[in-house]
């Protein structure tokens, strides 16, 4: 039985894990970099150890040091959170070698999930549909052309060394493909010593829908419903919800079973997520397994009633999942907004520094996971995610309205955040109608609407501003009247009297 967990992470997720540890009477050990000496996860854990300088490579990615701290502190398990070392199979292996329980899948399973090509082939064998395209690296332009013609244009030419949208070319015909292939191969050889290209069907107006999965060491497997994460910006999720407006129980059962098949095929254990793309015609394609606790796990917690971190720990302890698929009932609707510290109109540049004041929203159906507190600082060294605002409602619309009001109540002074952007998205008729897609922001010109909305907000505050300005002239000056006695006659007199 796990009695002490080292949390190899920081920020809100470290705090989230500490909360479950407290409920389970498990001691929590946190780690911190120079930058995080004043962070809440340091204060809220039972023990806390310094692991290195601010840059992640020297601290939160410093495998050797983290293992050292885990061993010397007497921890018997490591929870990696998300990001950092959470999907690093070497780290999982290092834990295994040191008899530390890595709260996540085995290193072998992690390796498999990380190798997207291999994973895609395994899915083919398991009859889990993937995005049409090549199953191997495309060695020459002729193979690429064959592939493209068999799946039909437009196609994407992708470098396996890319990621997050980089190294991807959209081509519409044989000619374009020939040109693009030559360029891409050259680039790849220059940069990585070899060409490693794929051809994949280009899919317009797609939704990102994922299934939360749990699999214990006895191979019992369940899905805990879907999350729709289509509201994104450059492949970064912004808003997630469950259920998806386009998933009914029939689809949930069907794709949920595919997701279960997918994790079985890679001999996965613990919690994970199977990500799918969904086309407008209702086709689902598997894309990958996220072999970790997801940022957006609270959405699933709110509609399932489960504590997913507890479930992770239980599974890591070798316990059976304590419920069957048929026991799970999707209850109401939950939405998450990832509050980022960023300046929307400075091309979403990170906004860092001192947070002068914070007031968290609360009340019926509202859950806020955050590491913010008044006078804390947001570091430029780490992720811009500063808070996860979740709302639950009996219906999508109740959850949505609760979220809108919680966004209004969420007061963060000192840095720019994505709160205003989310207000516009959540109030848009397209979001209300569930017309979501990964290009939602562009398709509906959301940034322009945000600009308009801000203009309207300014206009609505016109009388307030005018009043404040007039009172300022009247009352504020009086505050400094002692320094300015030599003014004109009746210098501080009121206008109308």
């Amino acid at each position: 039985m796990i009695k002490k967990i080292l949390i190899a992470n920081r920020g809100e997720i470290a705090l989230r894990i500490i909360k479950t540890c407290n409920v389970l009477n498990i001691k929590s050990v946190s780690i911190y970099s120079d930058e995080d000496v004043n962070s809440l996860h340091v204060k809220k854990s039972h023990e806390s150890y310094y692991v290195g300088n601010a840059p992640p490579a020297q601290s939160y990615l410093n495998q050797k040091k983290i293992i050292e701290v885990a061993l010397s502190s007497g921890a018997d398990a490591i929870h990696p959170g998300y990001g950092f070392l959470s999907e690093n199979s070497d780290f999982a292996e290092l834990c295994e070698k040191n008899n530390l329980i890595f709260i996540g899948p085995s290193s072998n399973s992690l390796k498999l999930c990380g190798d997207k090509m291999k994973c895609k082939k395994i899915m083919k064998d398991a009859d889990v549909p993937t995005v049409p395209g090549s199953f191997d690296l495309v060695k020459d332009v002729e193979t690429a052309l064959d592939n493209a013609n068999s799946i039909g244009y437009p196609v994407l030419l992708k470098s396996v060394f890319g990621g997050g949208g980089r190294g991807i070319r959209l081509v519409n015909n044989d000619n374009e493909l020939r040109n693009a292939f030559e360029l891409a191969a050259k680039e790849s050889i220059t940069a990585f010593g070899k060409s490693a290209l794929l051809v994949e069907k280009f899919l317009p107006k797609i939704r990102h829908i994922e299934f939360q999965l749990a699999r214990d060491q006895q191979s019992n497997t369940v899905h805990i419903f879907e999350r729709e994460c289509s509201i994104q910006r450059r492949h970064q999720k912004l808003i997630e919800l469950s259920p998806s407006p386009v998933v009914n129980q029939k689809v949930r059962d069907e794709i949920g079973q595919l997701a279960i098949n997918a994790v079985k095929a890679v001999e996965y254990s613990n919690l994970g997520t199977a990500e799918f793309l969904r086309l407008d015609d209702g086709t689902f394609y598997f894309i990958e397994i996220n072999a970790r606790l997801q940022v957006e796990h609270p959405v699933t917690e709110l509609v399932s009633g489960l504590d997913l971190v507890k479930l992770q720990i239980d599974i890591a302890n070798g316990e059976n999942i304590p419920f069957k698929q048929s026991d799970l009932k999707l209850n109401g609707c939950a939405i998450e907004c990832r509050i980022n510290a960023e300046s929307t109109f400075l091309d979403f540049a990170p906004s860092t520094g001192l947070v002068n004041d914070v007031i968290l929203p609360s009340g019926p159906g509202i859950r806020t996971d955050t590491y913010l507190y008044p006078q804390c600082t947001v570091s430029p060294f780490y992720d811009s995610l500063i808070a996860k605002l979740n709302s639950w409602g009996q219906s999508f619309d109740q959850a949505r309205k609760r979220m809108v009001n919680a966004l209004i109540d969420f007061h963060i002074l000192g840095i720019d955040t994505s709160i205003s952007l989310y207000k516009v998205i959540l109030n848009s008729k397209e979001f209300i109608n569930g017309d979501l897609s990964t290009d939602f922001l562009d398709r509906f010109n959301i940034l322009n609407r945000l600009k308009d909305s801000m203009k309207n907000e300014t206009a609505s505050k016109q009388d307030v501003a005018l009043t404040a300005a007039a009172l300022h002239s009247l009352l504020y000056n009086s505050k400094i009247s002692n320094d300015h006695k030599q003014n004109t006659n009746w210098d501080h007199r009121m206008y109308g009297l």
Binding site: H411, M454, K455, E457, T458, A459, K461, Q462, D463, V464, A465, L466, T467, A468, A469, A470, L471, H472, S473, L474, L475, Y476, N477, S478, K479, S481, N482, K485, N487, T488, N489, W490, D491, H492, R493, M494, Y495, G496, L497
Partner: protein, 170 residues
């Protein structure tokens, strides 16, 4: 009356504080509509008030002679001013007051916190006569003409109503 233009809003507005009702209450006129103001809190850089019974919180960021930057209920707003205040002051204290007028009259109610002249003192127009406190602010009352202070009707700590005669200056 002050003229303001709000950045991003294509309109010039006219604002006038019409009168003070009580210590914290005012009537304000914005573009010919009267509104009630109730000041709740005031500090050097912020103010909270009710505008027609709606609560608002404003932070003052920067002020120059022609620009005011503030944050109204969390929304940053920039105002450009066309301040006609000086004209009005000039008109009232210069234009309409004739040299023959003896009585120095208080134009506001307040409490006397300092008397700066004695009877029979010689004063010049603009010399400080007394300081009143009104609406949490100090107001310097200055002589409206050159002359000699014949009579002082106030003393430190006394209350002064609007239109009370503060002093007689001949």
């Amino acid at each position: 009356m002050i003229e303001y233009k709000i950045e991003d809003v294509d309109m010039i507005s006219h604002v006038d504080i019409v009168k003070q009702i009580s210590n914290n209450e005012y009537i304000i006129n914005i573009d010919n509509t009267e509104k009630n103001i109730n000041v709740i809190n005031i500090s050097v850089d912020s103010m909270e008030f009710m505008l027609d019974n709606m609560y608002h919180s404003v932070k003052y960021i920067k002020k120059s002679s022609s620009k005011i930057e503030l944050v109204a209920d969390g929304i940053p707003i920039m105002l450009t001013t066309n301040n006609k205040l000086n004209d009005i002051v000039y008109k009232n204290s210069g234009g309409s007051v004739t040299n023959a007028q003896i009585n120095l009259i208080s134009q506001i109610p307040g409490k006397v916190i300092a008397v700066k002249v004695d009877e029979n003192d010689k004063v010049k127009k603009g010399d400080l006569v007394c300081v009143l406190e009104s609406m949490k602010m100090q107001v310097s009352v200055k002589s409206h003409k050159d002359g000699i202070v014949k009579k002082i009707n106030i003393k430190t700590g006394s209350a002064v109503a609007k239109n009370d005669i503060i002093a007689e200056i001949e």
